[in-house]
């Protein structure tokens, strides 16, 4: 083996590297925790953990200032595997340490897969209203639905990222082009009083639909955990003969889709939270919200829900409550929230994470390994101590 290969090997199997990585990881976690105050939990995960480098903007240029979670985790993974392959020799005394590290490898891999695969949605169920889709927490879409056929809706969904890019959007399913005249990542709506619009002059005016009576007020993007951004856009529909009109669309739930008549067909346009359709339907039957008597402290939330599939194979009632989610078809439904003052609505969190079992497995392995090692040390220590104190502890 030549020198440089040996040096590389020594670098990757060294315990010093482990310690350096642990220190870097700790600093990263600490900085990320502090930054949550500014960025919110979601943006922090993207910036610090699901990245190779933590980037800071100097002017308009992103500059890497610290290794990110993928880099630290990745090198840690290499370090762990390399060290164990290189030094591996089975001894009962070492088995605990080896198990612990094997579990850690599994845990790191699991977190990587979670980062890559996990999807989170929310599902708002009103009593007795079946629903077969969940909605994204963050992503939105512009939905243009052909509702001419009473039995069948043809949906054209344009992701928010495309809307954000602006310009013209052409779909073979639509007889018109959609031209984004303006897009706002967060906004508020305000009913117009009198004839003077409250919207700033820079916002283009709508010529059709709700936008004639409602004003759009652009808002700064929020990172708070309990708030969400309400994107809005002004879009012009242009057919072969020329412009049809300009509509204001917003993801504000109060704004229902607006009707557009064109060439003998009926469409609705609207901005909405991105939907993920399921092959089964959930219907809220009863939502219970118990409080401790004489207080507003919540004691328990639970939702009794009817679950049925399109093919009729499943048709049953389930009860979802705190710490007791429903796992079905690769999704997990958790009791997440409720609408204050409205006991006829429940809000579920829907998570799809194919790798959800890995942390459980990893943790069992690690816990077992640590216990093993701890017991070996403890008994060794007590044994030594006994031998030392022999024959009798000094009388006091």
């Amino acid at each position: 083996m030549n020198d440089s290969v040996r040096q590389i090997r020594d670098f990757f199997v060294s315990l010093k590297l482990t310690v350096v990585l642990l220190v870097l990881g700790m600093i990263l976690v600490f900085a990320a925790t502090l930054d949550q105050v500014n960025l919110g939990i979601w943006a922090v995960q993207e910036k610090y953990f699901r990245s190779f480098f933590v980037l800071t903007r100097v002017g308009n240029v992103p500059v890497p200032v610290f290794p990110g979670g993928y880099l630290i985790g990745g090198v840690m993974l290499i370090n762990l595997i390399a060290a164990h392959v290189y030094r591996f020799s089975f001894k009962w005394r070492k088995a605990g340490i080896q198990l612990t590290h094997a579990g850690l490898i599994l845990l790191l891999v699991g977190e990587l897969l979670t980062g890559l695969w996990q999807d989170e949605f929310s599902m708002r169920l009103a009593q007795n209203e079946p629903r077969n889709y969940s909605e994204s927490y963050r992503a939105n879409e512009l939905a243009i639905v052909d509702t001419t056929d009473a039995n069948f809706d043809e949906v054209t969904a344009i992701p928010e990222a495309v809307v954000e890019n602006g310009g013209g959007i052409q779909s073979p399913r639509l007889p018109f082009r959609v031209v984004i005249k303006a897009y706002y990542p967060n906004s508020g709506l305000q009913g117009r009083e009198g004839s003077n619009p409250a919207a700033p002059a820079s916002v283009p005016r709508a010529t059709q639909g709700i936008g004639l009576n409602v004003d759009l007020i652009p808002q700064p993007v929020t990172y708070k955990q309990d708030e969400r951004n309400i994107p809005a856009a002004l879009l012009e529909l242009v057919s072969g003969e020329g412009p049809i009109g300009t509509w204001l669309v917003s993801a504000d739930p109060r704004m229902t889709p607006q009707r557009v008549e064109h060439a003998g067909r009926t469409y609705t346009v609207g901005m909405r939270f991105e939907r993920a359709y399921k092959h089964f339907t959930l219907t809220l039957q009863k939502f219970s919200h118990d409080r401790y008597s004489g207080t507003e402290i919540p004691k328990n939330f639970s939702s009794r829900i009817r679950l049925n599939t399109e093919d009729g194979r499943d048709d049953r009632e389930v009860l979802i409550y705190m710490n007791n989610p429903l796992r079905y078809a690769g999704y997990t439904f958790y009791q997440a929230s409720f609408e204050p003052g409205n006991d006829k609505v429940t809000i579920l969190q829907v998570v799809r994470n194919p790798s959800w079992l890995i942390p459980y497995l990893a943790c069992s392995v690690m816990t077992f390994g640590l216990l093993w090692q701890f017991c070996i040390h403890l008994f060794g220590f007590i044994g030594k101590r006994r031998a030392k104190l022999h024959p009798q502890p000094k009388a006091v």
Partner: protein, 618 residues
């Protein structure tokens, strides 16, 4: 004499503890104790009046005793009786603590105007209450985490005044000289009164004076009902449902429908009458009658209330704190003089203090029906308990008083922290829905808190090493060696517990929020403790650190744990954030700085360590 020292210490400690367990005596002819054990429902929990009085006093003024302007000392329950039934007296008691100079400026008051330079009476505040109200309204929309210290102080004082109003309106209508007489008259006239009001509403002839008196009384009841959250009136006979408890005002309002004044509301008015008019026999008879009526439906609850009032009066954590402090001094002296006798004495004191704390925690668990750690306050109790428990094990192995010194410091400090955390109100709180799981509270929370205990203990053992090594000549190589082994062992223990605890937390999070790991501040705090302990172990195994490095890193563990325990709650974000005060932030920062100073001291060259001077490297 030396020989009997440990035994004497043990005996004295036992006597001291026994003295706290005596039943509290009534201060005069009134059965204040009996009254203070009556139950009421506050914040979802049935508790004795005594607890309400004590936690109210802690909240208003940071201590449980009140001294009137004339120098008379009041028991908490006596104070509450005055607040409820003799408000004109209570309004002159200095029981509002104000330390913020700008808040004092609102009232044109100076610190010297207050008792102990910080406690003021409602009389003193009254002229400028409306200004305080205006300031509180200005501060209200500001998010709690970003309020200035003035805004925080204003909000807190305003909240305290509201709380005081709740107490005043909880039992009887304040400001009436003969509320009982009014109620008795009301009982006789309610039928006629309702008829008069009905007639008035229908525009028919009626007795205007009767209708007016009725309306006025009704309005008074509405005010009573709306000004309080204390549910003092038990459900009607043969009903034991917690949801049927109500305020005195609500119970009195029912009279218009039922035509009969609620017996419990009448009883409280009777307490007021007897208390105002100095009639102890009447008062004591009423306590007896009221209690025997409640006993028909609420025997288990009454037993718990009795036990809780007794627990409050015994103040076991205060006794424990005193013993920890004493033991600490004995143990330190044992390094200078009579190591065996003083060391033994310290060990026994720690043991008694720990048993008392154990009993205190167990009583709280029984009262609440919960595992030991349910909020920040109980976590402080438990961290101390766990660390002292480990110290007792260490001490029984090593017998060099090091475990006792560490136990004394940690036991005392954690109970002091707990005392400060108890100032925000009753510490036996109901659990919010997501936390309402005894299984996870018993596993995740207990294990992770034991991890805190161990990490702190390792840190304090390291401090003993550093202080003894640098400043004294008492750290001989054998002691240094055993300290190093203790720290190493405890770090191993800490790694195991904080790791397993964090993992269990992940599993709980997966069960309730749908993700194993969410990078929430409290989760990150726990992770940082795990990483820190892992750094210590790997650096030690890799030979990167020796004894002194181990000690420096272990002290660093104190900062990391302090941050994770309290610092993460101060960020005001995340699912785990609960509670934050200015003073806590200053305390945490000073703690971190003091630990950094100790770490810096570790780097003093070994030759300058007094214990090692002239020795070769240990």
């Amino acid at each position: 004499m030396k020989k009997f020292l440990p035994l004497a210490a043990l005996l004295l400690a036992v006597l001291y503890v026994a003295s706290t367990l005596r039943a509290p005596k009534n201060p005069g002819a009134f059965d204040v104790g009996g009254f203070s054990r009556l139950p009421l429902l506050v914040n979802g929990r049935l508790k004795p009046i005594d607890t309400v009085a004590r936690s109210s006093l802690l909240q208003l003024q940071g201590r449980q005793t009140v001294t009137t302007a004339e120098g008379r000392k009041l028991l908490p329950a006596e104070w509450l009786l005055d607040v409820a039934f003799r408000p004109e007296l209570a309004d002159t008691y200095p029981h509002f603590e104000i330390v913020h100079p700008e808040v004092l400026a609102i009232f044109d008051l100076k610190a010297q105007d207050g008792q102990g330079e910080k406690r003021f009476s409602l009389r003193q505040l009254e002229p400028k209450i409306s200004e305080l109200q205006r300031q509180a309204r200005l501060a209200d929309p500001v998010e709690a985490a970003v309020r200035t210290s003035f805004q925080r102080a204003v909000t807190q004082l305003y909240g305290n005044l509201v709380h005081y109003q709740r107490l005043r309106h909880g039992f009887a209508a304040p400001g009436r000289s003969d509320f009982l007489g009014e109620l008795l008259k009301f009982q006789d006239t309610v039928a006629a009164g309702v008829t008069a009001i009905r007639a008035k509403q229908a525009g028919q002839p009626h007795d205007e004076a009767v209708a007016k008196a009725m309306t006025e009384l009704g309005e008074q009841f509405v005010v009573m009902n709306e000004s309080t959250t204390f549910l003092v009136i038990p459900p009607d006979a043969d009903n034991a449902d917690l949801a049927a408890w109500r305020t005195a005002g609500a119970a009195l309002l029912e009279t218009f429908r039922s035509g009969r004044v609620n017996a419990a509301a009448l009883a409280y008015a009777g307490f007021g009458h007897a208390w105002r008019n100095e009639k102890p026999e009447q008062f004591n008879k009423l306590v007896e009658l009221f209690r025997s009526d409640l006993a028909k439906r609420f025997t288990p609850a009454l037993e718990k209330c009795d036990a809780e009032a007794r627990f409050n009066a015994a103040q076991p954590f205060y006794a424990s704190m005193t013993l920890y402090a004493l033991a600490f001094f004995l143990a330190v002296f044992s390094w200078l003089l009579w190591p065996d006798a003083l060391g033994r004495a310290a060990f026994w004191l720690i043991t008694i203090a720990w048993i008392v704390a154990t009993a205190g925690i167990a009583t709280r668990m029984w009262l609440e029906g919960r595992p030991p750690v349910t909020n920040l306050y109980s976590s402080a109790l438990f961290v101390g308990w766990g660390a002292v428990g480990l110290c007792l094990i260490l001490e029984s192995f090593f017998r060099n008083a090091i475990g006792s010194v560490a136990a004394g410091v940690i036991g005392f400090a954690t109970l002091l922290i707990a005392h400060h955390l108890s100032l925000s109100g009753d510490t036996l709180e109901m659990m919010r829905a997501v936390l309402d799981s005894n299984f996870w509270l018993a596993t995740h929370v207990v294990v992770v808190t034991s991890g805190y205990s161990a990490t702190f203990l390792a840190g304090f053992l390291a401090i003993i090493y550093i202080v003894r090594g640098v400043f004294t000549k008492t750290l001989d190589p054998t002691t240094a060696d055993s300290l190093a082994r203790m720290v190493y062992g405890i770090v191993c223990f800490a790694t195991l517990f904080s790791f397993v605890g964090t993992i269990l937390g992940g599993i709980w999070a997966d069960q309730s929020w749908g993700r194993f790991w969410g990078w929430d501040p409290k989760e990150n705090g726990a992770l940082i403790i795990v990483i820190w302990n892992a750094i210590i172990l790997h650096a030690r195994w890799g030979g990167m650190i020796k004894q002194r490095g181990l000690m420096a890193l272990a002290v660093g563990g104190n900062i990391v744990t302090g941050w994770s325990w309290f610092g993460t709650n101060m960020l005001g974000v995340g699912l785990h954030s609960y509670g934050f005060t200015d003073a806590a932030f200053i305390a945490l920062t000073s703690f971190a700085i003091s630990q950094l100073v100790l770490i810096a001291i570790t780097f003093v060259p070994q030759a300058k360590w007094r214990s090692f001077a002239g020795l070769r490297r240990a």
